[in-house]
């Protein structure tokens, strides 16, 4: 199968241009020219329009059209805020990590343009607490850019000011959820807020706020530079552009790849990521979009990697994190580990998630330890059903993915795990 070519990088340009993280290199490659162009020659409305036309969808997981989100911000309410979601905590996901470490200025330039477009004068980068280095690094990069008048007051003589601050989280997956993130940014425990109101209307400090993922915003300078049509020349009609995808687990070449949206899973795993690590251990299943997503198996290898195709197959592209596991992995253990994650990260606010994840883990645990009981699979399925769609935020629902996937694809293995004990 011929490998699809990526014509050029959109977000991971560090793979193309060495040391692009240095401001001089970034400037030499045309950096911050787009910010200048946007601020000096475009109206905010025109920028939003261009982004809308590009069809850029949020890279944080839900795939919501970015330009549309920006247009929800009420003009008349001030101040407004742009908040950059750099919480990247979904198991299997590490592409923001690379953008921050290797291509920070493109992210910052994207922030400047986007803040201008929505009318914000302050942007906060909420970065997960574990990225201590990334946080310090971004602060240095911001300082460099500010020293050259690329961030700060009266940018490019337009009178427009923008300040960018880095705010470190402190270890909580739920703070990736945008309203929990805002709570955390306000100095509180990170628990999701009731919606409505949505952040666009009442977000940070109850002011209009746009929350966008790191990768989403890193796309923006290139869209301004080359136009919506160019952007749409990548990917598919409904999922235009590229996606930085993280692949890990039992493949030969784990890592980040920027793929044109729409290539198949098979191509991605076998052509791009080098195929399975151990020729004797074939593919068993894939967690295709972060731990939250429903699993896929060999039968799904020809599924195109787009939001809509993945959704149609009952799973999601999510944060663009593919975990590939081979036949050495016991299903029960994998499901247990996934649900342990959700139990660990459950914030405690709502009862189905808080108690349900514990319930699921306890049952998985006893099966894993060899004390499974007849009826445990039905129990897992029923508890999962009672959780799905009843939790306060998607975290609780996500913990049901492993249960449903394991039962759907590996029922015999589960039954055997229990039977073996009787």
């Amino acid at each position: 199968m011929p490998k699809t070519e990526l014509k050029e990088y959109i977000v991971m340009r560090n793979r193309e241009i060495e040391n692009i993280r240095d401001l001089d290199v970034y400037l030499a490659s045309g950096g911050y020219a787009m910010a200048k162009q946007a601020l000096t020659s475009m109206t905010p409305a025109a920028i939003i329009d261009e982004v809308k036309k590009s069809g850029l969808r949020g890279r944080g997981g839900a795939g919501f059209p970015t330009g549309v989100k920006w247009s929800f911000v009420p003009k008349e309410l001030n101040p407004k805020y742009l908040v950059v979601n750099a919480d990247e905590s979904e198991p299997g996901t590490f592409n923001n990590h690379e953008i921050i470490d290797e291509n920070p200025h493109q992210l910052l330039e994207g922030i400047v343009i986007s803040a201008f477009a929505i009318g914000a004068n302050v942007a906060y980068i909420y970065i997960r607490g574990e990225f201590a280095y990334g946080a310090r690094f971004l602060e240095q990069k911001i300082a460099e850019a500010r020293a050259r008048g690329l961030i700060g007051k009266n940018l490019f003589g337009t009178g427009y000011d923008v300040e960018i601050y880095v705010h470190r989280g402190a270890g909580a997956y739920i703070c990736g959820e945008e309203t929990a993130l805002l709570e955390s940014l306000e100095g509180k425990i990170g628990q999701p807020r009731l919606k409505p109101p949505f952040p666009a209307v009442a977000g940070l400090y109850a002011k209009p706020t746009v929350v966008n993922n790191v990768e989403t915003l890193t796309n923006v300078p290139r869209i301004i530079e080359k136009g919506a049509d160019w952007f749409r020349s990548f990917g598919t009609e409904k999922s235009p552009g590229t996606k930085a995808v993280s692949i890990s687990g039992h493949v030969k070449k784990p890592g980040n790849y920027e793929i044109p949206l729409g290539i198949t899973i098979r191509e991605f795993i076998f052509d791009w990521a080098g195929g399975m690590r151990d020729p004797n251990l074939p593919l068993k299943f894939i967690i295709p979009g972060g731990a939250s997503s429903n699993w896929l198996t060999e039968q799904h290898l020809d599924l195109p990697m787009t939001w809509d195709d993945m959704a149609a197959a009952g799973t999601m592209l999510g944060s663009g994190a593919m975990v590939v596991l081979d036949t050495s992995v016991p299903v029960v253990r994998a499901a247990l580990k996934v649900d342990e994650f959700f139990k660990h990260e459950s914030c405690g606010k709502c009862s189905p998630c808080r108690e349900g994840t514990h319930f699921l883990v306890k049952v998985w645990e006893r099966i894993d330890e060899g004390h499974g009981r007849v009826g445990d699979i039905e129990l897992l399925a029923d508890v999962g059903k009672q959780m799905l769609g009843k939790c306060f935020c998607p975290l609780g629902d996500s913990s049901v993915s492993a249960v449903n996937s394991a039962i759907k694809f590996f029922r015999p293995e589960l039954d055997a795990a229990i039977d073996a004990q009787h």
């Binding site: 905590s89 201590a132 280095y133 402190a170 909580a172 990170g190 993280s246």
Partner: protein, 174 residues
């Protein structure tokens, strides 16, 4: 005390947020207090609350919620090994066992000499580098068995040589 000794840093942190939203500075200030005092005990938490004019309870709440705030005693180096999917199938369990063995402690414990605390943590966004850990939030990638000894020796040496340590990662370098 904290405020007087770190006035410049604290004022710089406060300046990031609107004047009537000082509470936003809570997480950064807790990191600072944690570095200065080695952990967040009752007094240091209250001190931070007073700097920000917050009810004590609110600040305890925050300390309790986040995994990177330590209210129990920890060592000079906190080793966080990711044992999440996929790491657990890519050598993390072996790494944890190896570290437990060498340090003579179980995950969750601190060595007698108070140099190392070993913890299992959830995904730290470096899955392609498995088995992976963070030492005071600095990444150590692909910590395969042959690298463990040297890594521990270097970390211990750093501590013993008096190099400034920051369990909160405020001084993290790549």
């Amino acid at each position: 005390m904290l405020y007087e000794q770190h006035k410049a840093e604290i004022d710089e942190i406060l300046a990031r947020y609107p004047v009537d939203r000082k509470r936003s500075a809570l997480l950064p200030l807790l990191y600072l207090a944690q570095d200065v005092y080695g952990r967040l005990d009752r007094d240091s938490i209250r001190e931070v609350a007073e700097i920000l004019d917050l009810p004590y309870t609110d600040v305890f709440e925050v300390v309790g919620f986040y995994t990177l705030f330590y209210n129990e005693e920890v060592g000079k180096v906190v080793l966080d090994v990711c044992d999440d999917v996929p790491c657990c199938f890519c050598g993390a369990e072996e790494l944890v066992a190896d570290l437990e063995n060498r340090l003579g402690i179980k995950a969750g414990e601190t060595t007698k000499d108070k140099v190392f605390t070993l913890r299992r943590v959830k995904c730290i966004a470096a899955c392609d580098q498995a088995p992976v850990l963070q030492a005071n939030l600095e990444f150590h990638n692909r910590v395969l068995p042959d690298k463990v000894e040297a890594m521990l020796a270097k970390l211990r040496n750093d501590v013993e040589s008096g190099k400034p340590v920051s369990i909160s990662g405020r001084l993290a370098e790549r």
